[in-house]
């Protein structure tokens, strides 16, 4: 069969296409973005009419995917780990409703926080919702698990969570394609009350989910994704999940580990296999990318029922991603490193691109606020978060998407006047609108600055749901028209922009300022495609 060179993300996407999805739903977020982008670019997906446009946020994406599954078709929904917090209400309840068409939720975790606010481990969400979780260790498995996951979902009538981490998501390798299959026809759920989670019905559904646990576990036990490899040296057994398995094997060039190894790729944990390795070995070493999820379960509350080594006893650090070297140390093997980094090497933090509109907006804002004490600007997540660093030092918070608006409101309620929110256009439609409604209803004294660069820049320039809607949204919510100000963030307009900001800061009510200029990166790209199109038509 055809061999493709794919990122882990792309392997999942190709797997989903071949497994017969009818739709993929997502909001961008590193390291999950490339799954949906791959489907958007795929001519095959286009021919098959697979829908793939971006959703406004992870919750709307999750719900649309549930709806597609209700209608009998296969759907996939993708997000970064913190996106699952946003989608959590829908996600957890989708386990109670169960599915009709197959449903896979992909959560991409980011241990070491390469591009994230935290290191949360999505496997906990899977356990919390009590559904099967798949954790591929390489690109080929990622591809095949899409197929397997949809089969599992349709057989067991449950959503399936696929959990990946940065290094798999963003690493490329050869993937052998399997056969592809047709999409499902539209069909109704057998029981038209399946999705009605009124307490009396939800109790029934929940009992069914509880009963299904045994079957979920049985599938884990028999699944090829959980594999037991025997070894001579029983002084220690090793349990390695997901890509941790690769780091283990890296340390045995002949691929022969002297100890028994349990490779875990599917949850709930296969109890018999875990029991076997723990009975056979004097000590267990746990290798997991992320939190000590399995380790904690095995240790139990008092921590002394088994001799378990891993992150919790400091054999491996509690934070940060695994590396071949950290696993090597945990195995007790001799490590060698190259020369140390010379002292002259200085950090090179990311920064706003030259010509970025956010730069002009921050210069204007800093000047408009220069008569006030520092510490009044609540911000959000996007390229503009780099405004926290020199030379701007312009913002004082970045917590979760949308929090700028509501934190500014809370601070203003507390009497911190002026309180300013700085939020990107995509972040605003993701989670800022409802907060702005709170401000309007409460007549809060806040200034909300929506930095409109007409794209979702931080994650690579995806379509922004806000495009063309911002003023109407603000008006519709009830912001007074006179206090919705659109600015052009360019050096030559600096003075008038500062003046407008000062006026709105002085206004005692809800103001919205929209500095609007296209992202310099997407503008360049648009110019290029324009050029080629001109050449084509010429």
């Amino acid at each position: 069969m055809q061999k493709l060179l794919l990122l882990g993300d792309e392997a999942i996407a190709q797997g989903a296409i071949d497994a017969g999805i009818s739709g993929i739903y997502a909001y961008p977020g590193t390291p999950s973005t490339e799954i949906t982008e791959y489907v958007q670019r795929s001519s095959e997906a286009r021919e098959k009419n697979i829908r793939s446009q971006w959703s406004a946020n992870e919750k709307t994406a999750m719900e649309a995917a549930i709806g597609m599954s209700y209608a009998g078709k296969r759907s996939m929904v993708c997000m970064k780990h913190v996106g699952l917090n946003v989608a959590a209400d829908a996600f957890v309840n989708s386990a109670i409703t169960g599915t009709n068409g197959g449903l896979i939720v992909v959560a991409a975790d980011d241990p070491s926080m390469h591009s994230s606010q935290n290191e949360q481990d999505s496997r906990f969400y899977g356990k919390f919702a009590m559904i099967p979780v798949l954790e591929p260790s390489n690109q080929q498995e990622a591809y095949e698990m899409a197929h397997y996951g949809f089969d599992l979902s349709e057989k067991l009538k449950t959503p399936v969570l696929m959990r990946i981490t940065t290094r798999l998501a963003h690493s490329r390798s050869g993937v052998v394609r399997k056969t592809s299959r047709e999409q499902n026809e539209v069909s109704f759920p057998e029981n038209l009350r399946q999705y009605v989670l009124l307490p009396m019905n939800a109790r029934k559904q929940y009992k069914a989910l509880l009963q299904n646990q045994a079957s979920f576990e049985e599938h884990s036990e028999e699944s090829g994704w959980n594999e037991y490899f025997d070894g001579q040296d029983k002084s220690r057994g090793i349990i390695a999940s997901g890509i941790a398995y690769n780091y283990l094997m890296e340390n045995y060039p002949d691929r022969k580990v002297p100890n028994p190894v349990l490779k875990v790729g599917q949850y709930p944990l296969p109890k018999n296999l875990v029991e076997k390795i723990s009975k056979e070995c004097d000590e267990l070493l746990l290798l997991e990318e992320g939190f000590p999820f399995i380790e904690e379960m095995l240790k139990g509350f008092l921590g002394d029922c088994l001799n378990v080594k891993g992150r919790m006893d400091g054999t491996i650090s509690m934070d940060g991603e695994l590396t071949p070297n950290s696993v090597r140390r945990a195995l007790g093997l001799k490590t060698t490193e190259g020369e140390a980094v010379p002292e002259l090497v200085t950090p090179r933090p990311p920064k706003l691109c030259p010509g970025c509109s956010h730069i002009d907006s921050y210069h204007a804002l800093n000047e408009a606020l220069q008569d006030f004490t520092k510490g009044r600007v609540f911000s959000d997540i996007g390229c503009y978060t780099l405004g926290a660093l020199p030379p701007f030092d312009a913002i004082n918070s970045c917590v979760d998407m949308g929090a700028s608006v509501t934190m500014a409101k809370g601070a203003a309620d507390a009497g911190l006047i002026p309180s300013i929110a700085v939020i990107g256009d995509s972040t605003f439609t993701h989670s800022g609108i409802t907060g702005l409604l709170d401000c309007v209803n409460d007549k809060s004294n806040v200034v909300i600055i929506i930095l409109d660069n007409a794209t979702t820049a931080m994650t690579g320039g995806q379509h922004s749901s806000a495009l063309g809607h911002l003023e109407n949204i603000c008006k519709g919510i009830g912001v007074e028209e006179d206090h919705i100000r659109v600015l052009n963030p360019l050096k030559k307009h600096h003075e008038e922009n500062v003046k407008a900001m000062k006026e709105e800061i002085a206004y005692e009510g809800v103001s919205v300022i929209i500095p609007r200029r296209e992202c310099i990166q997407t503008a360049k790209r648009h110019k290029k495609t324009q050029k080629t199109e001109n050449v084509k038509t010429a």
Binding site: S115, S171, G174, T323, P324, G338, L344, P350, L386
Partner: protein, 193 residues
């Protein structure tokens, strides 16, 4: 046979096209490949690296272990030094000498040169100058790849084919330019220039 290469540079310098070229050449040759890239936050003018592994055996880890890299291939001099802990004994450091000075405390050029010269196996070249002579400074990354090519276990022809493939949508002129860039870099490494 295995080649573990750390590709280094600054966001926007095009290390991913170097990776794509080597990757394609490796796959065409029938080798196994794993290539871990950095996407997201650090692409905004920050330091970026990619772990590129090719082998005739299956590859386990997506990341190269520290002390295991056969080569650091860098398009920026200070960045070439950031990954020294990964370089094995007798490994090669190959770097462009044109600094990207986008931080206020960028170290002085001589101290960087000195640090690089302490690596026993190294090749340094002014890739931008060479690329500019050929037509555009933007081919500097392929010049550096050319300089590294004698130390990578891939046939030169395979790299040429990969370039033809990767730039095929950009027209014959761009293909030729990059082939020339590859050759110019190679000649530097072989001491012909």
């Amino acid at each position: 046979m295995k080649n573990d290469i750390i590709l280094a540079g600054v966001g926007g310098q095009g290390i991913l096209s170097i990776a794509a070229t080597i990757g394609m050449a490796a796959v065409e040759t029938g080798l196994y490949l794993k290539q871990a890239e950095v996407h997201g936050m650090s692409q905004r003018g920050g330091d970026v690296q990619s772990h590129l592994r090719i082998s005739d055996q299956q590859i386990a880890s997506d990341l190269i272990p520290k002390g295991g890299a056969d080569m650091i291939l860098s398009v920026e001099p200070m960045e070439s030094l950031r990954y020294l802990p990964w370089l094995r004994e007798k490994g090669w450091l190959i770097t462009n000498t044109n600094p990207v000075v986008n931080i206020p405390n960028y170290p002085n050029g001589e101290s960087i040169e000195l640090a690089i010269s302490k690596v026993p196996n190294h090749v340094t070249l002014d890739a931008e100058k060479i690329a500019r002579k050929l037509g555009t400074a933007r081919a500097a990354n392929i010049v550096v790849l050319g300089a590294a090519s004698p130390y990578i276990n891939l046939e030169y022809k395979a790299l040429e084919n990969a370039i033809r493939n990767i730039f095929k949508n950009k027209g014959d002129k761009i293909i030729q330019l990059n082939l020339d860039a590859l050759k110019a870099g190679r000649e530097i490494a072989e001491g012909k220039n």
